[in-house]
Amino acid sequence: MKEQDILDHLKTVLVDQFEIDAESIHPDARLYEDLGIDSIDAVDLIIQIKEITGQRMAPEQFKNVRTLGDVAGVIQAAST
């Protein structure tokens, strides 16, 4: 999957399901500090992304994920 497609998917989910401002959403946005996403939100987000993209991603790949760009990176790595 192309990185832009992944970011678009993420943006849709964040705006629709997490009620986050579209303007705040960019690859460098930090999940916890900038978007206010805590652990419960993050797990939910990742599950939804898995369902949308159909990708299987190992939990270890999410170590050190801090920004949206990091999340997109994990998803992209899983689809290659």
Partner: protein
């Protein structure tokens, strides 16, 4: 006089026990586990073999310490998880076992009595030569990164396994009420797991963060492992649907569970 002799004897047993534990840990990690990696396939089998080795070793170690009079122990409440092996397996499926952590020896007892549990382990142990070989082979979960810990543990629970976790993340501060971090409650709610609280006690207190190994207590230590009634996932009532309202409800449910567990783990006597 007798009690001082007994105390001296228990110091010897403590020294022997620590040495044995350290040596066995290193040997297991450096000699046995590589063989397990080589010979046991697929991954699931390798992990089961590693866990069996670790937990049988722990059970033997408990027997060693008790037989030599280093400590006494009492296990209660196992009937809360069924009376036969088959019942236990069924009851423990999708179960998050949570325990308080008053002393260093807690994990040994918990894994000895719940040998198929997947343990959430302090991240630092991955770099400790006594533990690292065994932990990696067993496929235990690191608590270093909370997101990947939650995702891993959730996956195992969804596969029907049971996970053992210390909500405090570290040993309890002596003489303080337990401080439970949100990880365990969050996991229970997001995975819709049943929760089995296990209350550990150590009387008189020893092997806390404040004690050195050679500070031997006047009276012989009694370790108690008390399995409390299972808290069913339905009682925690977290809705499944995605969306902000559901997430808020989940967060509130996690807070309530955390308070409930804190109460269960707070001793009423000093």
């Amino acid at each position: 006089m007798m009690s001082e002799l007994n105390r001296a004897w228990r110091l010897i047993v403590a020294a022997l026990s620590f040495s044995l534990f350290g040596l066995a840990g290193v040997l297991l990690g450096v000699l046995v586990m590589p063989l397990v990696w080589l010979l046991a396939h697929p991954k699931r089998v390798r992990q089961n073999v590693a866990r069996w080795l670790i937990t049988r070793g722990f059970r033997a170690f408990v027997g060693f310490m008790a037989t030599l009079g280093g400590l006494r122990y009492r296990i209660t409440g196992l009937e809360h998880v069924g009376s036969t092996r088959a019942e236990r397996q069924q009851q423990l499926a999708r179960c998050l076992i949570v325990a308080n952590h008053p002393s260093l020896i807690d994990v040994v007892f918990l894994l000895a009595w719940f040998p198929e549990a997947i343990c959430v382990v302090k991240g630092a142990h991955w770099f400790n030569p006594v533990f690292t070989g065994s932990i990696r082979a067993a496929g235990y979960i690191s608590n270093a990164d909370s997101l990947s810990m939650l995702l891993s543990a959730r996956e195992h629970l969804e596969d029907g396994e049971h996970v053992l976790m210390f909500p405090e993340g570290t040993r309890t501060e002596p003489n303080q009420p337990p401080h439970l971090r949100m990880g365990a409650a969050t996991l229970a709610i997001t995975a819709r797991a049943n929760v089995l609280p296990v209350l550990m006690s150590c009387t008189p207190t020893t092997l806390t963060k404040a004690d050195a190994w050679y500070q031997i207590t006047r009276r012989q230590v009694l370790i108690e492992l008390s399995v409390l009634p299972m808290i069913a996932a339905e009682e925690l009532a977290a809705p499944l649907a995605p969306g902000q309202a559901a997430r808020q409800a989940n967060k509130a449910a996690a807070q309530r569970l955390n308070s409930r567990l804190t109460d269960l783990f707070t001793p009423d006597r000093q």
